[in-house]
Amino acid sequence: MKRIDAIIRPSRLTFVREALEELGYGGITVSEVKGHGKQRGVTEQWRGREYKVEYLSKAWILVVVNDADLTKVVDAIADNARTGEIGDGKIFVSDVLDVIRVRTNERGPAAV
């Protein structure tokens, strides 16, 4: 089983989710995070004085999949998150030793 952590633009989230759903991977966990990469923050101002906000809003996606599905899912995420502009984000893949479905206490690949 593999864990996919993707950091993408919030505005691409809907497309990514819909693509995953079409592939049949409904299970997904998301959160808002702040990112700082090649793309830099924005300048805001308060009562005339500027200040730098170093981070931009990004959506973090966590999807755990079985090994066989890894490539398909990673590609679906990457393709739907891509705009080609700086700030598109990154996808990190790592290993998962076990998965437990809380409701049923199933374990392993069946629980994914």
Binding site: P10, L13, E32
Partner: protein, 481 residues
């Protein structure tokens, strides 16, 4: 008189006084019907008194916004829209109910000889005292709104719709009839002083008892029938705090209420002429001093007892001071207003502690503020009212006045009679009302709805969808950023 008014519409640049003189001239020649000085003066008196009622009524109405912000700030984010809806609909349903029935039972012309209930002028029939109606409507809406706070975060909207009609149409108006209609059995406004039930009758200038106690006790009864919010009382004797979600709008609500109170109390002179203005000015001062003293008492008490300056208690303390002075604002001296307000806040504090102890859950403290400090206000009239104050406020037996300032106990006994009657009436009728609702359509939302928040289930809404933790935030399709 229509020709006088039309003048107003002629927006010519004459200057106000010039315009008036020209218009007078114009019309007098055109119509040969110039009003005499005495007529003009009578018109002025009527106009000024009427305007006072209207303006005061506007301020009292604005208290709806205060209640809305206060209670919304004191509940959790997930129930914000629900309590706001209840506040909005209070004013709406209450207005219609008071139009259709409430006024008629309070001040209806064909009074029953018993002094128990008015009858007539339903739907504003055969009726022209619009300013009076408007002012009283605003009071009725306030009484109903108070209740919503006690029942917040768990009451079904349908149950709410029913009780709010009954309170503004029946329960509250009958108390008004008793206390404020010239035919009411408790009233201090008998044409013939010999008809007074005792002393000056029940003295409650602006309604510590008539309005606030009614709302506060109805809320208490409702809260008992409804039961506490899930999680409020833990296992054993543990009492959990459930903090309000937005102290900023809560404070705003307090300030709006205080502002509106200047319509509530000074407006209750009902007239400016004939000494009304001087009385209203005094009332503005006593109201101010009681509010300030309530705030100070609460903040110091909270610091002494909890070690911190507690904002929720301070807000409620100001309100406790205001509720406390409402009955006596016209008849007590300024120094007494300071005392009454301070004690009002402490009584409120005591009410908060008491409810926790007996396991009743009143999320915004409506009972401590309106019920407890309201009762205190009614009693305070019998303790602090001065003879001069009673006379200046127009009460017929100023020789009976406050016990602590040398006026004997008779007025105090009268106040307890009024207090007891109102309390009994409200507890019994509200008890029947809430029991009837509870055992028919039910009062309480399902547990799952309470967990998830009433906003979503009753109103399909997230009150703050762009902020965590309750809403879609950036995850909404339409947010496209």
């Amino acid at each position: 008189m229509s020709q006088w008014i039309r003048r107003g519409r002629l927006h010519r640049p004459l200057g106000v006084l010039g315009g008036f003189l020209l218009a007078m001239a114009l019309f007098s020649s055109a119509m040969a019907q110039e009003p005499t000085t005495d007529e003009t003066v009578a018109d002025l008196v009527a106009a000024l008194d009427s305007a006072w009622l209207l303006i005061a009524g506007f301020l009292v109405f604005f208290m709806q916004a205060g209640f809305a912000m206060l209670t919304a700030g004191f509940v959790r984010a997930k129930n914000t829209a629900n309590i706001l809806m209840k506040n909005m609909i209070d004013a709406c349903v209450g207005g219609l109910a008071f139009w259709a029935v409430g006024w008629g039972l309070a001040y209806g012309a064909s009074d029953s000889s018993s002094g128990f209930i008015g009858m007539g002028n339903f739907f504003l029939n055969d009726f022209e005292d619009y300013a009076g109606w408007f002012f009283q409507f605003a009071f009725a809406a306030a009484a109903a709104t108070i209740v919503a706070g006690s029942l917040a975060e768990r009451l079904k909207f349908s149950a709410y719709l029913i009780y709010t009609v009954v309170i503004t149409a029946v329960i509250y108006p009958i108390v008004v009839h008793w206390a404020w209609d010239a035919n009411g059995w408790l009233t201090a406004f008998k044409e013939d002083p010999a008809d007074l039930v005792m002393a000056n009758g029940y003295v409650d200038f602006a309604g510590s008892g008539v309005v606030h106690m009614v709302g506060g006790f109805a809320g208490l009864v409702g809260a008992i029938f409804l039961g506490p919010r899930k999680g409020k009382f833990g296992p054993g004797k543990r009492v959990n705090a459930i903090p309000g979600h937005n102290i900023a709008i809560g404070s705003l609500g307090m300030f709006i209420l205080w502002f509106g109170w200047y319509g509530f109390n000074p407006g209750s002179t009902l007239a400016l002429t004939g000494g009304g203005a001087a009385l209203a000015a005094k009332v503005a001062v006593t109201t101010t001093l009681a509010a300030t003293s309530g705030g100070v008492a609460a903040v110091l008490a909270s610091k002494l007892i909890t070690g911190r300056y507690d904002p929720g208690l301070t807000i409620n303390g100001v309100l406790g001071g205001l509720v406390g002075i409402t009955a006596g604002c016209a008849t007590v001296d300024p120094w007494a207003a300071v005392v009454i307000g301070g004690i009002g806040a402490l009584v409120m504090y005591g009410g908060v502690v008491l409810l926790d102890r007996v396991g009743i859950d009143d999320p915004v403290g409506a009972f401590p503020v309106h019920g407890c400090a309201g009762a205190w206000g009614v009693i305070a009239v019998g303790l602090f009212s001065t003879e001069a104050g009673m006379a200046a406020a127009g009460y017929a037996e100023p020789s009976k006045y406050g016990l602590l300032v040398g006026g004997g106990a008779e007025q105090l006994v009268m106040q307890f009679l009024g207090l007891g009657s109102i309390m009994a009436w409200v507890v019994v009728t509200a008890g029947i009302l809430f029991a009837a609702i509870k055992y028919t359509i039910g009062m309480r939302v399902p547990e799952q709805e309470e967990d998830r928040g009433l906003d979503l289930m009753e109103h399909g809404l997230d009150s703050y969808p762009d902020f965590g933790p309750t809403g879609p935030g950036i995850f909404s399709a339409a947010n496209g950023n």
